[in-house]
Structure formats: C-alpha cells, structure tokens
C-alpha cells in the first residue's frame, strides 16, 4: 500500500475508532481526532518529501481494479497541481479539529464527520479515475451537510438542504458526462475506461473528438457547470452564503479552505486536458462570469450586516480571480490561479477561524454588536489585521502573488487578443482589488475601530493556544508572500503541461501516460528517446523540441512594427 492510500485511510481508521468511544468520553474523541488528523498531516508531508518537481506526470501511482467490466479502477496519483491541495487539506483539517475543542454537543458524530470529510477531500484531489473522483466528490457532501444541519446556526435546516441538493443536482450532469466519455473511449479503443490518463492520451492525439460534432461543447458544459457551482461562480453561488454562514466554524474553515477548491481543481484536472477546443472557444464566457463574480461578490459583500456573510461573499470574488487566472491560459496567469487557490484557503480559512474565535465568546455575527475591539483584544485585532490584509492582497503577503500573477496572465492574453479575450477584461477584473480593500477595511473598521461597545468590556484577549492556532496561518501568509517559489516551483511543470494540453494542437500536446516526451526547464515540450537510470531524459543526442514554450510568440496579433524594430 502506497503513501497516498495510507493518507486517505488514516482518517477513516480514526473515524471507525471514534465510533467505538462512548459519547461521554468527549475528551478522548477530541484527542483521537487531533491524533489522526495530525498523522494524516505527517503522512501528507511524506508525500511531499517523495515528490519530484522534475516531471509533470502523476507520481506515486497506485492502481487496482474496481469494476473491471466497466473499466472502473482505483487509481490515485499526485502531480504538481494536486500536491499542495493535499497538504492544504490535511493542514486545515488538523487546525479545524483543534479549534473544534469548543464543540460540546454530540461530539462523537461531529468528529467522525470531520475525519470522514478529510478522507473524502483527499480522495478528490488524488483520484485519476472519473468514477472514483465522482464518488469522493459526492462523499464530501454528506458529512458537510450533516455538520451544517446539526451544529449550524439558526437557519441551518434550509442551508444544509440547499447546499446538498444544489451541488448534488449540478454534479449529476458531470456523472452523465463521465459515462459518455467512457463510452466514447470504448468506441475508439474497444473497451470502456474511466481512466483520465487513457482518455487524455486519445484527446492529445486528436482521435477522441474526431467527427463528434458538438459533443465536446456539450460535455464541456456538463463538467464545467457542475464545477462552477462548486467554486462557486456567479450565477451559481447562492448556496454559498447560506452554507458558510450557518456552518459551524470548523465547517466554514474547511468549506472555504478546501471544498471550494474542488471546483477549480476539477476544471484544471478534467476540463482543460479533456476538452481543449471547447475550453479555448468558451474562454470569454467563463472570463465574464469570473469578472462578474469578482465585482458582484464584492458589491454584495460590502453591504452585509453579518461578518460571516461578508466573508462568504468575498469568497465569490476571490474565487473569481482563481478562475480568471486559470482561463487566461497563460503560464503566469495559470500559476497565479493555481496559487491563489492555496492563498484563498489560507486567508479565508484564517478569517473564518478568527470569526469563530470571537463568535465562541459573543455568540453574535452582526457588526452592530461589535466596535472598538482593538483596545480590548489587541492580540486578536493584530492577528485579524494581518489576515484581513492578506485577503486584501497586500504585497509581502500570499494573496498578492496569486492575484498579481492571475491579472498579469489575463492581461497578457487579452493584450494579444488570444481566445477571444478583450483588454477590458483585466481592466475590470483589476477593480476587484479596489473593491476588496473597500469591503474588508469596512469590516475591520466596524469590528475594531470606534469606541468600545460596552457589551464587550469584559472580553479577555485570545488564549495562548488560540494565538498559536492562528499563528500557523500567519506563518504561511508571510511565507507565501515573501518566498512563494517554495510553492510555485513544484507546480510549474504540471501547470505548464496543463496549459500545453489545451493550447497546443493535436499531436503536439503533452500526454500523461506516454513517456516519449517531456517538458524541459525552459518550458519547451521535447522529444525523449532514451532515459538514464534516474529517468531523466538522455540529452546526449541533442534535444528535439516538439513545441516550444511559446511564452511570447504564440500570438495571433504580432506587435506592430516588431519586425522593423529588430
């Protein structure tokens, strides 16, 4: 059994153990959860340790037959895009579990749900089989909905069911799409397969979509709508404010930190590599949705009277940047989009955690009940300030890098007029950084500035362990902003390969399951005929470039007079 399967199994074992602990031993349940989420985190660190950033392909592959007749496998693996999401999942779950020591009501089921949720989320990010992915994807719904339903706020009933049915209905489309893909694979290769590497190999050679008419567009939307609901992207976002607001703190942290990323991850993992032509054709539509999300999410966030709702709507805006970056189909932009997923997980996760800390004390989320907290809780307000600024995208903190790169990439593609993008797009998306400052500063001012609300006069500052909990986030906020290469370098080749799977023509696309080519350090796709003992390409015969990185020349509109200038 490989390290990935181990990581998924650890929380499941923990959950089973907890089910045997009687309800009255709440403390034992809590410590067991911390132990198992901690073990899962360590296990994911060992994945990182074994991870090589030299290849774009899936690593640490584990394959087993599941339903061989229908070509369904248990197939898991890690690449540069999923590695950080796996670590984000284990880290956030660990921190959410520690925070959940405040839970007193029906602890056993609560902690079992957290562990189940963790296993399902991990499964989503490592699955390379469509049905396996779908299983995990839907499996996350149940514990999350239960968490909202049992431990949520006043309106939890409505929120839980809306969350469940909304996202479940949408993903039905995706399941149908998956079955169609497997059937189409059968037509070409003679047997059904849900293995995305097998399907992608046929897509890359151009065989898969030959003579299929509008099928690609149809399936593109079946996948994309399901995943955009998850992101969530305007106009499919309305489940989010309710779910976020009503969920218990740990639920909100995980929901914002990890669950939303399943949507954008799905876009990167399935939509881009499998539907390249449809992706390129529909870039403008997705871009407009992202831009509307950025502006509209910010506008609605700015007028919320409830701090949790404000942060929830800010997620719509922030995830807009992620989608904007990914669909810029520019190397820098895609890196920014992928990186922004992590940053949003850290920043918004930390914001929900901080709101949870104050909610435990005051049991209110309304701005009207706060004011002047800065003098009463200086450490809390300092931490809140840092996290708030990271969400604003202040340089030196993680949020800036992602937004900057996403906008940069969008600008480059739009300036070249690629994929039907217009220069107005990055201009409008850029206003998102103004609006983010407006509503987040507004939030901070209402809670922390002004005279102290007399109702808060007895509040003590955070306890040391709570400071430590938020401190972990703060470390990543600065690490991600000051030395982002730690996180950017390992994902570079996988992101580049994903980009080339879309933008390169059939025959010149990288293939996951085929060893005869590679991406070199300059980003070019090169042919590899022989490999040395370490699996590295043998370059003694010289390098043959299949397709150059095309960072600057892949343009429909060459700059005016560029020839004369040289």
């Amino acid at each position: 059994m490989g390290v990935i399967t181990t990581t998924i199994l650890i929380p499941i074992i923990g959950m089973l153990l907890i089910l045997f602990v009687p309800e009255r031993f709440g403390k034992v349940t809590k410590w067991l959860t911390v132990l198992f989420t901690g073990a899962a985190f360590l296990s994911s660190l060992s994945i990182l340790n074994q991870f090589s950033k030299e290849t774009f392909r899936f690593q640490m592959l584990e394959v087993a037959n599941w339903i061989p007749n229908w070509g369904i496998q248990y197939k898991v693996g890690i690449d540069g895009i999923s590695i950080w999401l796996v670590l984000l999942t284990t880290l956030l779950t660990l921190l959410a579990a520690i925070f959940s020591f405040y839970i007193e009501h029906r602890t056993k089921v609560y902690f079992a749900m957290i562990l189940l949720l963790e296993a399902a989320m991990l499964g989503v990010f490592v699955s390379l089989d469509l049905i396996l992915f779908y299983t995990f994807f839907e499996a996350t719904l149940i514990p999350m909905a239960i968490m909202i339903y049992v431990w949520g706020g006043k309106n939890r009933n409505y929120a839980a069911i809306k969350f469940f049915i909304y996202t479940f209905s949408a993903s039905i489309f995706m399941l149908l799409g998956m079955i169609t893909l497997a059937k189409m694979h059968e037509k070409i290769a003679g047997h059904m397969s849900f293995d995305i590497t097998a399907i992608q190999a046929l897509v890359a050679s151009g065989e898969f979509w030959q003579n299929t008419g509008t099928m690609q567009t149809l399936l593109f939307w079946a996948f994309t709508i399901a995943l955009l609901v998850k992101c969530p992207m305007f106009p499919f976002h309305t489940w989010l404010p309710d779910a976020h607001t009503e969920a218990p703190t740990a639920g909100s942290v995980i929901l914002a930190g990890v669950l939303l990323k399943m949507g954008t991850y799905g876009l990167l993992r399935f939509v881009l590599p499998i539907f390249p032509e449809a992706t390129m054709a529909n870039v403008p539509i997705i871009m407009w949705l992202a831009i509307i999300g950025i502006i509209y999410g910010a506008a609605v966030a700015a007028v919320q009277p409830d701090v949790k709702k404000l942060v929830a709507y800010s997620s719509v805006a922030h995830m807009g940047f992620v989608v904007f970056g990914i669909f810029s189909l520019n190397q820098a932009g895609m890196m920014g989009g992928v990186y922004q997923q992590l940053n949003h997980g850290i920043s918004t996760g930390a914001l929900f955690l901080l709101i949870g800390l104050i909610y435990e004390r005051t049991h209110t989320r309304l701005f009207a009940d706060y004011g002047g907290l800065k003098s009463q809780m200086p450490i809390f307000s300092a931490l809140f300030l840092i996290v708030m600024l990271s969400s604003v995208g202040l340089p030196g903190m993680n949020g800036f890098i992602g937004e900057f790169l996403a906008l940069y990439g969008g600008f480059m593609s739009a300036a070249d007029g690629l994929y039907g993008m217009k220069i107005i797009m990055p201009l409008l998306a850029g206003t998102g950084v103004i609006l983010a400052a407006a509503y987040l500063l507004h939030m901070f001012r209402q809670m922390f500035y002004g005279p102290l609300n007399p109702k808060l006069a007895r509040l003590k500052d955070l306890k040391p362990w709570e400071v430590g909990l938020v401190g972990v986030f703060v470390v990543f906020i600065f690490w991600g902003g000051i030395y982002p290469n730690t996180f950017l370098k390992p994902m570079e080749k996988s992101v580049n390969a994903t980009r080339m799977m879309v933008t390169n023509g059939p025959g010149a696309r990288p293939v996951w399951s085929d060893d005869s080519h590679d991406i070199d350090n300059s980003g070019n796709l090169i042919e590899v005929n022989a490999r040395n003992a370490d699996g590295e390409p043998d370059t003694s015969q010289g390098i043959k470039i299949v397709k150059s990185a095309d960072y600057y020349t892949d343009t429909n509109v060459p700059p005016r007079n560029a020839q004369e200038a040289r």
Binding site: R361, Y408, F411, M412, R445, P451, L488, T553, N561
Partner: protein, 732 residues
Amino acid sequence: MEQDIFRNIWWVLALPVFGFLIQAFTGKIIIDSLGPKIGRRIMGALAVAPIAVGFALAAQITAELAKLPEESRLRILTLFEWITVGNLSIPFEVRVDALSMTMVLIITGIGSLIHLYATGYMAEEKDYARFFTYLNLFVGAMLILVLGNNLALLFVGWEGVGVCSYLLIGFWYKEKYNSFAANKAFIVNRIGDWGLTLGIFTLAYMASKTLGVAGNIEPRWLSYDVLLPNAQAIFAAFDPWMIITACLLLFIGAMGKSAQFPLYLWLPDAMAGPTPVSALIHAATMVTSGVFLLNRMSPFFAQAPTAGAVVAIIGAITALLGALIAFGQTDIKKVLAFSTVSQLGYMFIACGVGAYWVGLFHVATHAFFKALLFLGSGAVIHAMAHNQDMRNYGKLLKYIPITASTMLVGWLAIAGFPFMSGAFSKEEILITSFGSNLGWYGAPIGMIVGGVALVVAFLTAAYMSRMTFMTFFSGDERWKLIPAHAHGHDDHHHDDHGHDDHHEHHEDSHGFFYTDAEMAAIALRTPHEHHHDLDESHTPHEVPPSMWFPLVALAGLSIIGGGWLFFGVNLAEWLGSAGVVVHHHDHIESIPAFLQKTVSSWIFLAATACFIGGVVWGWLRYGKSLPANDGRDLSKWGWFQRSGSQQFGIDGALTDGFVGGGNVIGKASWAFDKSLVDGLVNGVAKLTGLIGRMLGSGQSGFVRGYAALMQVGVAALILYFIYQMVTLGGGN
C-alpha cells in the same frame, strides 16, 4: 572593499525592519515591565537608532557612489529569486544609484529627525510602542519602494507605505472620524494602485514582446535595468498611443499616492494621524513617491510628450486648487495639508514639462521646509493643549520662541524668500515651464502651466502668511477669550468602563471573560487620561529639546538646502547619472542665448514680487488682528473663503457620491441576489414541488421541491444523453 560598502545597503534596508520587529514583539512588554518613563525612553531610543544608523550608512554609500565616474554609478544587488513563473521572473534586487540614494538620504535623514521629534511628541501616549512599530515599518517599506530594482518591488513598497499610512491615520482609532479617514486614504490609494498595476502590465507586455521574442534574455520584464535602457527600442516597436497609455496608467498610480486632482481627497483627511506622521508620511516622503516614479520612468515619459502634457495640466490644476482651498482652512494642519497638495502639483508641473530632475529637486527642498512646518505646527498644537484652530492662537512668538522662529524660517522658505531653499526649486520650475515648448493640440502648455505656477507662487506666499500671522502675531492672545468651564470630566469616564449590571453572568467555562475582581483591578491600573482643554487659564510652554532640536536642524536645511543642492551637489548632473532624463524638454536652451539670461532674470523678479506681494497682503490683513470676515462666525465670511472651507464641494460630491452610490449598488445587488438568482432557484423548486403534489406524491414542502426538481432534471438529461449517444453511434 568598494563592494563591501555597497553591500551595506542591505543593512540600511534591514535596520528599520529589525526596529519594527523589536517594537512589535517587545515594545509593550518592556514598557509595561520597566514603567512608562524608562520603558518609553528605551523604546524611543530603539526606534530612532535604526533610522539614524541607516542614514549614516547611506551617507557613506552615497559618498562612495559619488567618487565613481558618472557612467558607472550603478550597483544592482540581488538577494534571492522572489517570483519565477516561466515567462516572468522577479528577483528581490536593489538598485543603488544617484536617484535611489537621494531618496534614501531624504527618507532616513528627515526620518530620523522626525523619529526623534516623535519620542517627545508621543511621550504621553499609551500605545507608544505601537506608534513606533508602524513608523519603523513605514521607513522600511519606503526604502523598498525607492531601492527596489523592479516595478514589482516598487509596488511592494508602494502598498506597504500605503498600509502604514492607513494604520497611522487610524492610530487614534477610538474616534470614528479617524477610522473613516484611514479607510478613505487606503481605498483612494488603491484606485491609483489599480492604474499602476495595469501600467506595469502594459510595460511588461511591451518589453516581453520586443525583447522576449529573441528568447535569449532573462524574463525580468519589470526590472529597471531591462526596461530603461531599452525604452527607445520598445517605443519604436509599438504605436505611440501604447506608450502614452502605459505612462498615463503609471501616472494614475502617482496621482493616488501623490494626491493629485481628483485623487487628492484622502490627503486632507489624513491629518487625523499624529503630527509626526503628517510630517514624515504626508509631507516629506510617501506623498512624493509619485514624483520619484516619474523620475525613475522618465526615459519612457520622455517618449510620450502627450502624457507629459496631461501630467503638467493635472499638476497645475492641483497646485491652483490646493492653494485656493488653503485660504478657507482654520485648522493649522489642514492649511499645511492643502499646501502640500499644492506643492505636489508644482512638482508634477515640472515633471510634465520634462524637467524631471527639477521635480525631484522640489521634493528635496519641500521635504526640508514642509517637515519643518508640520513639526512646528505639532509643537504649537502641543503647546496649545491640542487645539488646532488658528482662530484661537495669536501672539505665540512671545511664548514659544524657538518653535516660532524656526517656523518663520519654514514660512519664508515655502513663500519664496530669495536664495532660501524653496525659492531655488520654485524658480527652476518656473524657468523650465516658461522655457518649455511643450504643446498639446497647439496650446502652449509650457506657458499656461508656467503662468498658473506663478499665480500659485503668489497664493502660496499669501496663505502661508495668513497662517503665520494668525498664529504668531496678530495682536491678541485669542485663546484667552475662551471661558474656563468646569468640565465634569471624570464623571464621563466612569461610564466608559461599562460596569453594566445587566451583563449576563452565564457560566464562563472557557474563561473568556474578566471576573468582577479582575475588572476592578483593571480599573485601578488604568489611569484616567487627563486632558485639559484650551481656555483662558492656559499658558503655552516651549517644547522639550528632543522636539526643538529637529526643528532647528530642519530650519538650517530650509535656509541653505536649496543652494547646496543646486550649486554644491549639482543635482541635475547627479540625477542624470541615474538615467533621469534631464535635458529632454529643457527648451530654454533652444531660445537665443541673449534671451536666456533675460528670461531667467525676469522670472526671478516675478517670483520675488509674488513673494513680497503675498507677505504684504498677509501682513495688512492679519498682522494686527484677526479680521472679522475670517473669524469664528462663518456667516460673516466671504463667498470665496467659505466655499474654500468646503473644498468647493469637490470632496463632498466625490466622496459622498461614491460611498452613497456604492452603497446603493451593493444593496441593489444584494436584493437581486436574494430575489432573482436565489428566488429563481427556490421558485423552480417550489414549482416542481407543486407539480409533484399534483401528481399525487402527497408530500409537500420546499425540500421535496428541490428533490423533485432534481429528479425531473435528471430524467430529462438522461434521456437527452442517451439520444446523443445513439446518434453519435449512428454518425460513426
């Protein structure tokens, strides 16, 4: 050995950051444990030291740099790879050249004087360490802004100083007004930053298209050493409008940070911060970073005279508007704030007509006299029990002679007393404007902005004389007219501690709240803040040496600084060695030689006449006493001054317009969100629920509705997919 000295630049950069960390993590502990008196002394010293040592190191580096031949006065030092993503590489690199070192000397030099001053000014402040935490961080960010060798690092510093400014404006956060002012400053700056970001992208796009196609160059598209030497080549490869757009986008950034019309709105409100902050951030350093940016990017701006014309016009509008509004202000700091707005406009006039180095010259001299004036106003405010209304001052020369005499120097310097620092840079601006043949659609922009600048020179002398005479002369000691009233001060304060007996003492198993005993102990420990109001019993006192020493030093610089920079340093040549375009639009040289001298002398005479006129006007109106139409009763004021006090309605219209409009849009979007988008979903769910009931499922409710919607949808889709698959099979 030579290399070693340049490496010290890392220390210059690191020291304020260390200072920041020390203040942030140990400040409160040290002050609490050693007691306020000694603790604050120690923390104050620890705050001043990094900046002062940084200044010494920077001076040494600059001296070494000056020894090098002109063409090799450049060192680029790289620390690490910051962002690397295939087609874009941004290292953390600093650039030591004449321009950056000039700014570093201003920042650390004026900065350490202001830090020293602040140790005295803030001595009674409860959050002493928090103040210096922000202030040291500000210096660090400002140094990154000027030292970074690429536009991304400039942006880091740009936003970094913005956030420090936000924190310091809101330093006294309990006042609601201050927190609004802080937010306004940050958000208006962000509008500028939006332009700056897009300007950076545009330049990167042009650079990568022009230079990247060759493929053999590092993708450091934002680094100055890639951009600046290739400005000509990049310009040649694109339509001129591209470069104009790029320059104007950068200028939008400069407008935000340097408070140009219409983005000046935040600067007057920023006076809510403590006065040392106003001196350092909102006068001497941060607000001039726009001028720095234009100097740094001058090879690009020089290619786009149209952009220059826009810069000059905006600068002229700002200079005039700021000067006019200053007449309507009664708050001493507000007068200085609008004066800063006006003087910043002056700097952009110079940059716009192509004399970038003159803009920076004015940055330097303005840093001397405006920092002096602000610190002086702080000393006055300190002496006058924190009352900032000039109508309550008068005859203060008698009580606070050191402060007053240094401020008089500042007044003469800004008003343009011949051969003081302000006069030098101002006349340089006038000469280059009138001498410029910059045109725009045939209009002689140089002459127009030069004429405006001359009018503003007169206005500056006039409103500064108004301030000076109202404060230090004008016959009577007007605070003595305020009757002393018994203020029931302590009664108010007891209520603030919120002993509300209604507080629910539900069990506090987590220890979240203070117990009654702890609350009592806290109440004992917290001294009531005395503050006493300005009234007839008040006697102004001179400030302590830590506060007047910086005033004296700055007064010295205000007197000789201009001449020293002009003749001693030869600033034009010095900045020219850093790649700042010096002679591009210097068209005075294109007029016949015999006229050059005449023009210069005429401008000198005109500027001096403006100075004398303004001062005489001020003396006649305010020298003896406060005129009734500028007194406490606003209804007696003339139309012009009354509108000036309201900023001619610009601030109200724009700020309230945007806040109100934004609120309406937000509320409308939210209503839309709740009704239309969500309502549609819920409505469809209800409808299908209804259908479900009609079909006799017998179950009702909205949850069922969702489920039914799902079933119907799924069934339809399955049918459609089966159909598609069948036709697909047929097609092949």
